[in-house]
């Protein structure tokens, strides 16, 4: 993630007329935001190969170079970058899914998955296997919550997570809290069997 001084330097280079400096700024933006943006998008679009998904995310960052609009001030840089990349990537992922005739993932807010969930009765090798499968099922049903939990478990800062979610820090805490509640039914039975 970029600090305040880096954001201002990137902004000056991005809005300036020097082509080489603009390219440097976009490379810096890609380096800083790729991990979190890829996490968010990859959790939602798991059916493509890793290379293809990385390609799409790169193409979405390239859009920054060709976009006709620019942020008006340094404070708007981060939200502008995330907006441009997010919208472009979503379009590109949808096109790729259509090309391969893969059904698009459901919207997380459709229906109340949390209360209607029943774990399936498939056999598990051991508790670890059960937890892995539970996490995978959860990530497919609630990809954004899963991405946020993954980042939180990987000790990413709340600012990182809130930027990725496009929420305030308080709303991010609430979102993580909800995620923890939602993941529990997917894993509880694994540990009950253990005890």
């Amino acid at each position: 993630m970029l600090n305040q001084i880096e954001i201002e330097a990137v902004y000056i280079n991005l809005v300036g007329s020097d082509v080489a400096r603009k390219r440097l700024a976009i490379n810096k933006i890609y380096e800083a935001f790729q991990p979190n943006m890829f996490t968010k998008l990859r959790y939602k679009y798991q059916d493509l190969s890793e290379n293809e998904a990385q390609d799409i995310v790169q193409d979405a960052f390239i859009k920054i170079a060709t976009s006709n609009s620019l942020p008006k001030k340094p404070e708007a840089l981060v939200s502008w970058v995330l907006e441009v990349v997010d919208n472009t990537a979503l379009d590109l992922f949808k096109k790729a899914y259509k090309r391969y005739e893969i059904p698009l993932p459901e919207d997380e807010n459709e229906g109340d998955h949390g209360t209607s969930f029943h774990f399936n009765t498939e056999r598990y090798e051991d508790t670890e296997d059960c937890v892995s499968k539970g996490v995978l099922s959860f990530s497919k049903k609630f990809p954004l919550h899963a991405a946020a939990l993954s980042m939180s478990l990987a000790k990413k800062s709340t600012i990182d997570i809130s930027q990725m979610l496009k929420r305030t820090e308080n709303a991010t805490w609430t979102f993580l809290h909800e995620g923890k509640k939602k993941v529990a039914p997917y894993l509880k039975h694994c540990f009950e069997a253990l005890n």
Partner: protein
């Protein structure tokens, strides 16, 4: 789960269970290709993509400018013909040899054989864009053709690109650089 030191954990997992969940998320991240930092190979491939995208954009701007100039010139020509040049037009009508257009100045061609044509082409494109020049690229098999302009005599900014293409400092106009693979390298 005790995430970021938050209390009031609603999931109710103990430490061992939480560790198992953390490991499972970590495994899933690995399977999906998620990393904490941007890997070097992705940074490099992005740099190349960006270079090509900005080169294409400059070409697009050039074409747009060219079309605008042609349209403007045509409009002015029509107006001049209608309102000012009418007698001259009548006088010369019918003369088959009367229209003589100025030929375009030819582009100089430079052939370069190198071990890695693509790498070399990227280097040249990068130098050209840094010197605020226009570049068009075409790739056919292992052959890459770069059309670069405008070269200016004795330009200090263009010294590095002239050196890369083996041109002397007095070279001017447009250059077509044909980059091919050197079988010996």
């Amino acid at each position: 789960m005790n995430m970021n030191n938050e209390s009031n954990d609603p999931s109710g997992f103990d430490e061992n269970e939480e560790q198992m969940i953390r490991d499972s998320f970590s495994k899933l991240d690995k399977r999906l290709g998620i990393t904490a930092y941007t890997p070097d190979h992705l940074k490099k491939s992005f740099e190349k993509k960006l270079l090509l995208a900005t080169a294409k954009r400059s070409l697009f701007a050039t074409w747009r400018g060219l079309w605008a100039s042609i349209l403007a010139a045509f409009s002015i020509g029509v107006l001049l013909t209608r309102f000012a040049m009418m007698p001259a037009t009548i006088a010369t009508r019918g003369g088959p040899e009367s229209g003589v257009g100025a030929p375009d100045s030819p582009s100089r061609i430079v052939s370069i054989a190198t071990g890695n044509p693509e790498e070399f082409a990227f280097k040249v494109i990068s130098l050209a864009l840094n010197a605020e020049m226009e570049v068009t690229s075409q790739k056919s098999g292992e052959k890459i053709v770069l059309y670069i302009k405008p070269f200016k005599q004795g330009s200090a900014e263009q010294a590095s690109i002239k050196l890369a293409l083996g041109l002397d400092s007095e070279a001017a106009g447009s250059i077509s650089a044909i980059i091919t693979k050197d079988p010996k390298k």
